[in-house]
Amino acid sequence: MPKTPVTFTLNGAETGIFVDPGLNLLEALRREAGDLSPKFGCGQGTCGACTILINGEPHLSCLTLAVAAQDADISTTGGLAPGADLHPLQQAFADGFAAQCGFCTSGMLMAAKALLDRNPRPTRDEVVEAISGNLCRCTGYDPIVDAILDAAARVQGRVTA
């Protein structure tokens, strides 16, 4: 079966790849586009480790067909910090010890970014809801929720730490 060309914007860069029609976007990003920041956790939309932003909305890339990404604007954790400075979410995660093994972190960051982009001053409950599709087996979640609230405060100039 011939491969299908797909073009999209990945973290601000025009990207073109050739994919099998059934390939999911997670595999396409990792194998064809070379962005290893979205993680393969379960491959069935349960764990959230593969969360990316498509046109600003959080999506599970393992459940998204790569061909559906045509002309999309895709953001992944790989593009969160283009320069030397970490994104406020990354800095808050590091400062707040919100990662242990780190496998969920990429998806958590993107779910959190989607929240803060549309709601810069979320309540704790709103943060909990925003990451409720992302599983973590190490941290017990509270450090992650705290870090997201901390990042929101930093962006707002309300420094808590």
């Binding site: 069935q44 349960t46 990662a99 909990v128 190490c138 017990g140 929720v145």
Partner: protein, 345 residues
């Protein structure tokens, strides 16, 4: 329908490592030509912070800034042998091996510096900021970087060290069955406050109060992180998840995240932690580490709290609403145990 409150207590003595076979760990340390140090291990950092702690330990034993120490782990092709990251042994076993390897590398570093400064190595000390000084005359000094360069390009000397930590393998006394499987224990005590709904069997853990004795907390934030996450896992083991729901039948064995329950970010439990530090004599700088103990006492404390709340003794995990309701039925209803002072009503 009544919501019953209950309080449960559990404590734990937790073995650090396992003596059988001596439980060895090895570490290698070598300097790069610019005076940085690489610690090579084949033990694995599972996220608990073993890499960070070994980096701290190496910096302390070498006497150099922590920024100048790198830890390379988890490749058993390139690293020296290690039994692995299990049995709550990481900080204790790997840390001890790292101290020994670092001490040997430090001795060579001091010899190289002594040769450059034309003094005795015994008269030298590190300042922990990347310099080696003559004791009592700190202006007579050489940087660790210059020492490494001299060793590499002038003296033809390696600044490296090998370390192994092996404890005397424990045998069994065939008459008494006595043995000594471990050399040191960590300790914890934990109180759970929860509620049980006697109509639905639902348990809600309200609060965890814990005290952990982990030797010296070499990295207090990592210790706290591990204790928070471990308690969450303990709650999950106690009330939510099981790998074998119909043991010994293997039916409905969880295959993936979507086939068993665990608490989500909205079901976390407030947890107040006290860390008690009693440095252990045979531990690296006294640190034993929290290890697996961070999850374990949560389970019996929850089981005891459920018993205290409604009088149902569940002896199979997880403690599901179904098991509690069956217990209530067998007992003819809820039979709350004595209220302890301070138990929330």
């Amino acid at each position: 329908m009544t919501i019953h409150t209950g309080r449960g207590f559990a404590c734990i003595n937790y073995p650090i490592g396992m003596n059988l076979g001596g439980d060895p760990s090895q570490a290698l340390v070598h300097s790069t030509p610019d005076g940085k140090f690489m610690v090579t291990l084949s033990a694995i950092d599972l996220g608990q912070g073993m890499k960070s702690v070994c980096r701290q330990i190496a910096a302390e034993a070498l006497g150099v800034p922590i920024e100048d120490v790198y830890v390379d782990t988890a490749d058993s092709d390139t690293g020296p042998h290690d039994m692995g990251s299990f049995a709550s042994r990481g900080t204790h076993r790997m840390g001890n091996a790292v101290i020994r390897a670092s001490s040997e590398a430090r001795a060579q570093m001091m010899e190289a510096a002594a040769e450059e400064l034309e003094v005795s190595a015994a008269d030298l000390d590190t300042d922990g900021r990347g310099n080696i000084q003559v004791k009592g005359a700190p202006s007579k000094m050489i940087t660790v970087a210059d020492t490494a360069i001299a060793a590499q390009f002038k003296q033809g000397r390696t600044l490296s060290g090998r370390g192994i930590f092996l404890i005397e393998p424990s045998g069994v006394d065939w008459d008494t069955g006595e043995m000594s499987p471990v050399t040191t224990y960590a300790h914890a005590a934990l109180v759970i406050d929860l509620t049980v709904d006697d109509e639905t069997g639902e348990v809600e853990v309200k609060h965890i109060n814990s005290a952990y004795e982990v030797g010296r907390a070499l990295n207090p934030k990592l210790v706290e992180q591990q204790l928070i996450g471990g308690a969450w896992m303990g709650v999950s083991h106690a009330l939510y998840e099981t790998t074998e729901p119909y043991y010994p039948a293997r039916d409905h064995l969880p295959q993936d995240f979507n086939t068993y329950l665990m608490p989500g970010p909205g079901e976390t439990v407030p947890h107040d932690i006290a860390v008690l530090e009693r440095p252990a004599a045979d531990a690296p700088y006294g640190g034993k580490g929290p290890g697996e103990m961070c999850a374990n006492p949560v389970l019996p404390a929850i089981a005891n709290a459920v018993y205290n709340a409604v009088g149902v003794r569940v002896d199979k995990l997880p403690i599901t609403p179904e098991k509690i309701l069956r217990g209530l039925q067998a007992n003819g209803g809820a039979k709350p145990g004595p209220r302890q002072p301070g138990t929330p009503q």
